[in-house]
Amino acid sequence: MQPDQHEIEFTVNGTHYRRMVESRMLLSDFLRHELGLAGTHVGCEHGVCGACTILLDGHPVRSCLMLAVQANGRALATVEGLASASGELHPVQQAMHAHHGLQCGYCTPGILMTMTAYLAEHPSPSEDEVREALSGNLCRCTGYQNIVDAMMDAAARMREAAP
């Protein structure tokens, strides 16, 4: 059987791409292997761990549960796009650094993508709400407390920056 190929056009972190993809290529694998954006991690490939979370038109989704061909016409954002062009880290990244919110870092890109979108929509969350927002991202190292602390701090920093 001839591979079922499709031409797709989309943006990742504002950069425009046009590529041929085979229909069975997962978006997670496509980002990593075809575009070299290996910041998006792959853990379970069935939607449970959250490591592969990216933004699709601004909303967090599992890139392991989408086909690359479904990205046609869409705007994607990955962890590579969080820091500014000059290299200054996003406030959520800064807070993760300051609070030791990561150890091995495997879960971190997914957590960053989930939480930047969450905090943009909910600037003043309670600690319980932060835990709920984090519930779809597994971390085997930190025990979560430092991540929660980082998110509360990041929310405060972002409120200060844009009151």
């Binding site: 059987m1 591979p3 079922d4 499709h6 085979e22 229909s23 069975r24 290529m25 997962l26 694998d29 490939e45 069935h46 939607g47 959250g50 979370t53 699709l56 909303h59 967090p60 989704v61 599992r62 392991c64 549960l65 989408m66 086909l67 061909v69 479904q70 046609n72 989930t114 969450y118 709920e132 927002a133 519930s135 779809g136 991202n137």
Partner: protein, 292 residues
Amino acid sequence: MKPAPFKFVAASSLDHALALKAEHGDEARFLAGGQSLIPAMNFRLARPSVLIDINALTGLAGIDRSETGQVRVGALTRYRALERDGDFLRACPLFADALPHIAHPQIRNRGTIGGNLSHADPASELPALAVAMQAEMRIRSAAGGRTVAASDFFAGLLTTDLASDEMLVDITFPVLAPRSGACFMEIARRRGDFAIAGVAAIVTLDEERRCASVRLALCGVGETPVDAGAATSPMLGSRVTGEVIDTVAAGVRELIAPSGNVHGSPDYQRHVAGVLVQRAIRTAHQRIGHAA
């Protein structure tokens, strides 16, 4: 690449999607949110040879109210849209309780009500809601259309009444009767996991504030959502007391036949189901309010 090879077609209209399904039958699957189908394909538990992507069919998404107050929800409506629609949650309060239990925000951003109901996972919340609320499922094929009651839609484990050329296009939820209260509750091992047991209850009182009807449906305790209506007869015509609620819970424990799983034995599931029945009926009753 994990899924086995397939041909991908982005349907450009409902007729296009239905024509493709008529042509390819069981070999083809509709791709909605992909939150159940893609994991199954990644594991190669599902190997459709044709994938009909319906995500561009925006006419299949959305919520409207008829003049009579019935709520019609398009099959492609995502959980994300449902949980952010205050009017919908007020009209269908069981959804306000149940949606936060479905997976995680990232999955709710993609998953659709039609995909959920067509997938017919017996542990899923929404089939039980559809049965409790006496929803009507509207089905289309290239050859025509029909409507099926939720109670007849769920045929077995991951199996519905849909034929190989059919699509679920929308779901209609009747208006809650006056003096009604509703509650959904579940217990799962971890936030967002499928339930060990879950209960949807709708209690309606008559003008003397005696129980006029109780709708009770459970998830996670059988091969399909379980309509526990048969266990509710002790409540009908009586005041909603602790004693009568206990009788109903005992009846539900008798009625269900959970098979047990890694999260709990059949006895444990039966126990949890009974406790949830008590709590859900009590809460539904409290929510009726006195103004109504």
